[in-house]
């Protein structure tokens, strides 16, 4: 699949991620495609991660877990969560091509994060799904 996002679409994506996630205390959020490309990323300015490596590994990890799901007869596991001592990471599938990843500390509860991620995903779909439909 090839796709291009223009400035207006990218601005809109960033606005959604900032309002729903960064402004609610998420440290870092990035939207990637399943090939491991970064579509957009935002952080709260506290920490810099090697986001390109993180995106490549996240896409691979998600792909591996999806393959595991198929083996046990599930179509997919649409979200994943890894818990650390200080940092946690949450993956949520947006469509067959896109994935939303958030990194957050222990000051946010997982339930609250999931709620906010779900709200963002609904809005992101409105921008991203036409892209996938236009370039099957």
């Amino acid at each position: 699949m090839s796709y291009t996002l223009d400035q207006k679409q990218l601005d809109r994506l960033e606005d959604i991620l900032k309002a729903d996630l960064i402004d609610n205390g998420v440290r870092c959020v990035f939207l990637i495609d399943m090939a491991g490309n970064i579509v957009t990323n935002l952080d709260n300015g506290e920490k810099q991660h090697d986001i390109y490596s993180l995106a490549a590994l996240a896409a691979g990890n998600f792909g591996a877990v999806s393959a595991m799901a198929k083996i046990i007869g599930e179509n997919e596991f649409s979200l994943l969560f890894h818990k650390g001592k200080k940092e946690n990471i949450h993956f949520n599938k947006i469509s067959s091509e896109f994935l939303l990843i958030t990194i957050f500390g222990n000051d946010i509860s997982l339930g609250f994060l999931r709620l906010k991620v779900a709200e963002s995903v609904d809005q992101l779909k409105g921008i991203l799904e036409p892209l996938t439909a236009a370039h099957p």
């Binding site: 699949m1 090839s2 796709y3 291009t4 996002l5 223009d6 400035q7 990218l10 601005d11 495609d33 399943m34 090939a35 491991g36 490309n37 970064i38 579509v39 957009t40 090697d50 390109y52 490596s53 490549a56 590994l57 896409a59 691979g60 792909g63 591996a64 393959a67």
Partner: protein, 201 residues
């Protein structure tokens, strides 16, 4: 499929090193990483088994500067060569923009090369892609082993086995010594960037 960010003017180009197990794909990336360490700011990511075999993939990102006002980010990946890791290989191929096929020039590995090439074509077909339509460079690796008297396939035989259909540029190389590793990389970068330019810019 390269991703182009029109806002930050960045193009991400994905190049995958493919080939039979123990053929030298990871050694290629390790050489590149060592040679250009000053310029590559990121760490090379590698997921290996205890036996030093690639389990998932290796990943090496770097910038090559501006083309038409866009920053080009090259992302090098290797696949695990072992037959049993096919699901992982298919995953890594997703969205690939260019391929280096690292063949093992040892005579005993002839069949393995052919199998790996066939496997590459099958995996690309699952993404509705054809190898002939992608930027491709062949690398015939391990030429340094000739000095130790190990029987190697000559270039004609390798070309006949692997490249007669594609007529892709090829290099006889030693990833271990670094012979033609950079030449291979430069060739695949220029072909992949040209193909992305043609398609998008």
């Amino acid at each position: 499929m390269a991703f182009i960010n029109l806002k930050s003017r960045v193009i991400q180009v994905k190049i995958v090193y493919y080939g039979p197990g123990r053929g030298g794909k990871t050694t290629n990336l390790e050489y590149v990483y060592r040679k250009f360490q000053q310029r590559i700011r990121a760490e090379m990511v590698t997921i290996k088994t205890h036996g030093d075999r690639t389990l998932f993939f290796d990943f090496l990102p770097f910038d090559i500067g501006l083309v038409n006002g866009y920053t080009i980010k090259i992302q090098l990946y290797t696949v695990p060569g072992q037959v049993k890791y096919n699901a992982t290989r298919r995953l890594v191929l997703r969205g690939v923009d260019g391929i280096v096929f690292v063949a093992d020039a040892m005579t005993v590995r002839r069949e393995k090369n052919i199998q790996a090439l066939r496997n590459l074509q099958e995996n690309l077909a699952s993404y509705k892609k054809k190898l002939a339509a992608l930027p491709l460079v062949m690398q015939y690796n391990k030429i340094d082993l000739a000095e130790q008297g190990i029987p190697l396939l000559d270039t004609e035989a390798l070309e006949h086995d692997l490249n007669r259909e594609f007529r892709a540029p090829y290099f006889a190389a030693s990833a271990y010594r670094g012979t033609n590793v950079v030449a291979t990389l430069k060739k695949i970068i220029s072909m992949s960037v040209a193909s992305v330019r043609k398609e998008f810019l």
